[in-house]
């Protein structure tokens, strides 16, 4: 059986529901929430685990940082039969009152990445699938978690648009703050655009690890892990709901 070029995964080795973290190092931790998790492949920045949840097959596949590798992961997963995706990752707050550790659910993204532009002109909107987004919101509500839903900014140059960027960054990107953009990350725009073009469903859930106004940054892994656990549980609950709706 031919394996997908970069992921090194064959058909039948991933579930229809996939969690997409950026960091390969997070896959093992996320897979611990699956029943019978097994490492399927580890190639470049793409680490794949597959297991079960409530009787259906789920996977976690890291995308690496940025839209170029995220697009590759998504494209190859689609050819392998995956249909529902949730990007699960971290983000930096552009909105002043977003606090470290809070949860953002993106319903759309400003697309200044290069990858999605190769697919389709910029005026095409990067929009999350509304069923996945609704399922994530509902699962969060059920857990009593307050979330922020809205538009985020996906871009390519981390050191031009992050807490580590030059001090002029906030002034340069004032238009995004004025437009009410919640936060910034590096993968969702291409994932949303490609998903619409390929007719699969993708949403995004993120936790705030930096605030660009206070320049506060969360690096304490001890504090971050429970938040990743929580977001993974929200994903799995959302997948469960989507799986039921699909059969219904």
């Amino acid at each position: 059986m031919k394996k997908a070029h970069h992921l090194q995964v064959a058909c039948g080795e991933v579930g229809e529901f996939v969690i997409l973290p950026g960091d390969p190092g997070r896959c093992e931790h996320i897979a611990r929430h699956f029943e019978e998790p097994r490492l399927v492949a580890s190639s470049r920045e793409f680490v794949t685990y597959t297991g079960k949840h409530k009787g259906f097959s789920v996977s976690v596949v890291s995308t690496g940082m940025g839209c170029p590798s995220a697009a590759i992961a998504l494209e190859e997963l689609i050819t392998l039969g995956a249909k529902h995706f949730v990007r699960l990752g971290t983000t930096g707050a552009l909105k002043k009152d977003l606090k470290i550790g809070e949860i953002v659910i993106a319903n759309s993204a400003v697309r200044t990445d290069g990858t999605s532009l190769e697919y389709i002109p910029m005026e095409f909107p990067a929009i999350a699938d509304i069923d996945v987004t609704n399922a994530l919101c509902e699962a969060s509500r059920k857990k009593g978690i307050r979330t922020h839903i809205g538009t985020i900014w996906s871009h390519d140059a981390f050191y031009k648009g992050s807490v580590f960027a030059d001090p002029d960054f906030l002034e340069r990107e004032r238009w995004l703050i004025d437009a009410g953009i919640l936060s910034v990350e590096n993968e969702s725009s291409a994932l949303f655009v490609i998903s619409y073009l390929r007719k699969v469903k993708t949403g995004t859930i993120l936790t705030v690890v930096a605030n660009h106004h206070t320049r506060e940054v969360l690096v304490d892994e001890e504090r971050l892990l429970p938040i990743f656990d929580l977001m993974t549980e929200i994903c799995l609950e959302a997948f469960e709901k989507l799986n039921t709706a699909k059969r219904g």
């Binding site: 319903n107 400003v110 910029m122 005026e123 095409f124 909107p125 929009i127 987004t133």
Partner: protein
Amino acid sequence: MEQIQYHIKCRKGEVNRAVLLPGDPGRADYIAENFFTNPRKVAANREFRIYNGEFEGEPIAVCSTGIGCMSSAVAIEELANIGCQYFIRVGTAGSLQAEVKPGEIVIATGAVRGDGASREYIDPSYPAVADFSAVNALRRRAEKEGRPYHLGIIRSHDAFYMESPFAFGDFRKRIQLWVEAGVLAIENESSTLFVVGSLRKVQVGSILVIAGSLISGEEAEYERIKGSVDLAIKIAAGALVDLLKGESEK
């Protein structure tokens, strides 16, 4: 005395906060006369015809935008200035997909920003996305009516005679990119309404009835789609009622 808005000729408090936005001024009359209880004309200037009324006992309004994003932006800006908060565009569109047929209903999740007006507001990388609660409210109402609908991205643009069944030359070549992208339908107002809505922090949704197909070239007689237009108006007005009620529950 609050300042009168330059084009719509209304003041703060004069227009109910939840507003249907048809393109055609004639459709504003039609909606007020046939769907509102106790309709009252508030103003009529240029292409902006405004009525207040009640739907299911809740105060709503209708304001026509005229054709195109230019006048639509004027309408929503001035309505937002005087305190309007919820907007549903209800109109017609041309199909870009073989399976989206004349008389069928489309609920837009977002729009390709092929218009000029929204670019003056913000870079084209910013998404024209429909308000999340408005889309959910429209879906729930359509489901309640037992009416199937298409859900997805539409294209809004400015030059009707470049991309329509009436366009000159090979219009199919011009729309091919969007057809292949799975864009459902094409019209002339939603992109700017979504963008200006997001920037002004008001909620905007859009429900459209397919009047013709750019794929088959078919143009439906109005009589054939009239029932669908009536249903779309009912769904849109119902969604506004739900948005108002959701607000009071918060």
